[in-house]
């Protein structure tokens, strides 16, 4: 595997950190601003950031209830994303979708489906349209391992294979280490298939399985996949496996691993507590920080400077979102139809 160019690796890291600090802000704000049940992307940043780095701005994407990271990772304004999560008027979607449905058309997001499996169908349809347009654009459909349990996954994979559609299926398998069968923990999803990629393989779809917490590995696989898609070779199924972040084991997410301390990447002896193993071995942010400094791509100071900038942006975004007004109730019935009767 060839590592991505240095500037790409720095960009991937910056995206990852943006995702992490956004989700920490979401968790923080959930204490004072009830905005409904939410899902955090912590632990999966390497996958989203590296796939997004492999896409062009003209490519499209669909995503899920766990969308926050994808959105800011692809450049959606963190102020508008946070405001949307809080259901405010300045949100990307005027507060209508909230945390489950953050979208940004200008960043190529068609939809965020909170119904499991929805993003697979929509993303494949977008790929069909893109193929007809003939400009070489592709669509990335993000979804979790649970979506593979829905009938729409099988039906859509079959069609995409038959019609050789330029769709990158990004299956973020975050269930490695999930213990849903234990009382009080979610989810309990399960598949009989020994590996999820065996399902698309049986339909003749090209697959790749990568460590979803290894940004360079994800980027290499995604870049390969996108090349194949643009060449018209048909769909690719990328399974990115991550260890479930402990904070998403309870029904309501909690920052069980604390606010990320970047310095721990180089001072692992300071890592302590119940979730030390996850932080030490799995946290994709700390892992990539270490990779980049070991490879001489960045210094610790470079990364700390990126972090300072990201933290400042998030602080501003939190203030912005909290101050944003509620949507005007009189606007509630706007845009139900294209043509107002």
């Amino acid at each position: 595997m060839t590592a991505p160019a240095a500037d790409r690796r720095r960009a991937i890291f910056a995206r990852m950190l943006l995702m992490r600090r956004l989700e920490e802000s979401v968790a923080l704000m959930s204490k004072d601003h009830p905005f409904g049940h939410f899902h955090l992307y912590i632990g999966q940043e390497a996958t989203g950031a590296a796939v997004i780095e492999a896409l062009r701005p003209t490519d499209l994407a669909t995503t899920t209830h766990r969308n926050h990271g994808h959105l800011v990772g692809r450049g959606a304004d963190e102020k508008a994303v946070l405001a949307e999560i809080l259901g405010r008027a300045d949100g990307c979607n005027g507060g209508r979708g909230g945390t489950l449905h953050v979208t940004d058309r200008d960043r190529g997001f068609l939809a965020t489906s909170a119904v499991v499996g929805g993003s697979i169908g929509l993303g494949t349809g977008a790929a069909h349209a893109l193929k007809r347009q003939g400009k070489g654009a592709v669509c990335a459909a993000f979804f979790g391992d649970g979506a593979m349990e829905e009938g729409i996954a099988f039906e859509t994979l079959n069609l995409a294979a038959l019609w050789r559609l330029p769709v990158l299926y990004v299956c973020e398998n975050n269930s490695r280490g999930a213990l849903g069968a234990r009382a009080g923990e979610f989810p309990t999803s399960e598949m009989a298939a020994p590996k999820l990629s065996g399902i698309p393989e049986s339909l003749g779809i090209r697959t790749a399985v990568v460590d979803g917490a290894d940004a360079d590995a994800v980027h290499a696989a995604a870049a390969d996949a996108v090349d194949a898609l643009r060449a018209g070779d048909g769909p690719v199924f990328l399974e990115a496996r991550t260890e479930r972040w402990p904070g998403s084991r309870p029904l309501w997410p909690e920052l069980l691993t604390g606010e990320t301390d970047l310095a721990l990447a180089w001072e692992p002896e300071r890592i302590a507590g119940d979730h030390a193993a996850w932080i030490r071995e799995q946290d994709p942010i700390l892992r990539y920080a270490r990779v980049l400094t070991d490879a001489g791509v960045c210094t610790r100071d470079d990364l700390a400077a990126i972090d300072r900038d990201v933290r400042d942006r998030m602080a501003a975004a939190r203030d912005f979102a909290a101050a944003s007004p509620w949507p005007d109730a009189r606007s509630a019935t706007d845009t139900v139809f294209a043509l107002e009767a």
């Binding site: 905005f35 409904g36 979708g97 909230g98 499996g117 598949m191 949507p327 005007d328």
Partner: protein
């Protein structure tokens, strides 16, 4: 009723499930996160420990498959209660529910029964957004062959669930998720509450308020406000949409001469139209004013609290609708134009 024991609506249903599972080994509970996790609304808490994984069955996220299988199992001797976490996801199971479960008894000329309960949650609140806030109970009531029950009180929730499990017809058992913590008296032994018998939740003489599920409580609150203004409102809790007890409604309207129908589903083509039209057909000569209908506007529920709040009829809106029938407020039907 034994003493003044109270339970929440959630606990009352849980008790019905446990009692029926104890009574009949054919009763199973099937759904996502319903086992050791105890359900996302804690609505199956304890069942897994008591009845084991063979009868409280966790499934993958495969709604169409589990309902399809439940239909086949129900035809083969099991009595499954299948949970679809949010009614929004019933869209995933419309084929096995509507084309299979609802039709099989008829298509086999009575040869097969489908004793299946599809338990699901409707309701608006908690910022869950457009794909987790729908109240599509009217869809189910539109299908011949499906029974539809929607409890308003904990006692009814227990009794109606018992009937749902014991009946040989497929039942869609619809709970408003915002009523789970509602507390009320529940009999410890508890007979089943029969389907098709509406309940007079409050007696009155000047106007009939017809509602179901959470909206019964909104109607009762409106009735209390109306009493302060000297208007005596009778509140009818339908309990089930199929069968629909119009006899109780018509008897009330003959007495009061006025009716307002309130529902949490979208008003357009919803249950209020069916009930109002039937009142018009059967009690026209007794009416002193047009039947008024309140429901959700023709718009998806937003995540934003400010927009979410305008979806459901409020007690104040019901009160004003009633007052309009007496000429003390505007008689026009305000419905946001969409």
């Amino acid at each position: 009723m034994t003493g003044d024991r109270t339970l929440t609506l959630r606990e009352a249903i849980l008790e019905a499930l446990a009692e029926e599972m104890e009574r009949d080994a054919a009763v199973l509970y099937i759904g996502e996160d319903v086992g050791a996790a105890g359900g996302v609304f804690r609505q199956t808490e304890g069942l897994f420990d008591r009845f084991g994984a063979g009868r409280v069955i966790d499934t993958p996220i495969s709604e169409a498959a589990i309902v399809g299988m439940a239909v086949g199992a129900a035809m083969t001797g099991s009595r499954p209660v299948v949970e679809i976490m949010f009614a929004d996801f019933v869209t995933q199971v419309m084929d096995p529910l509507v084309n299979q479960a609802a039709k099989l008894r008829y298509m086999s000329a009575g040869g097969f029964s489908v004793p299946l309960v599809l338990r699901t949650a409707v309701g608006v609140g908690g910022n869950l957004g457009p794909q987790h806030s729908q109240s599509p109970h009217a869809w189910f009531a539109h299908v011949p062959g499906l029974r539809v029950a929607m409890p308003a009180t904990p006692a009814d929730a227990k009794g109606l669930m018992k009937t749902a499990i014991r009946t040989d017809d497929p039942v869609v058992f619809v709970e408003d998720r915002m009523t789970y913590n509602l507390r009320g008296p529940v009999p410890a032994d508890g007979d089943p509450v029969p389907f098709g018998q509406a309940r007079v939740a409050r007696a009155g003489s000047d106007v009939t308020l017809v509602a179901i599920s959470r909206m019964v409580h909104v109607a009762e609150k409106a009735a209390a406000q109306l009493a302060e203004r000297g208007v005596s409102a009778e509140v009818i809790d339908l309990r089930t949409l199929s069968p629909l007890d119009m006899d109780t409604v018509i008897a009330s309207v003959r007495k009061t001469s006025r009716a307002v129908v309130v529902d949490g589903g979208v008003r357009q083509f919803g249950i209020t139209g069916e009930i109002a039209a039937t009142i018009g057909e059967l009690a026209f000569d007794h009416l002193d004013a047009p039947v008024r209908r309140l429901g959700a506007p023709n718009v998806p529920a937003s995540s934003a609290t400010a927009l979410e709040k305008m979806i459901l009829p409020t007690a104040e809106a019901v009160r004003d609708a009633v007052l309009s029938l007496f000429g003390t407020a505007s008689a026009t039907q305000e419905e946001p134009k969409t």
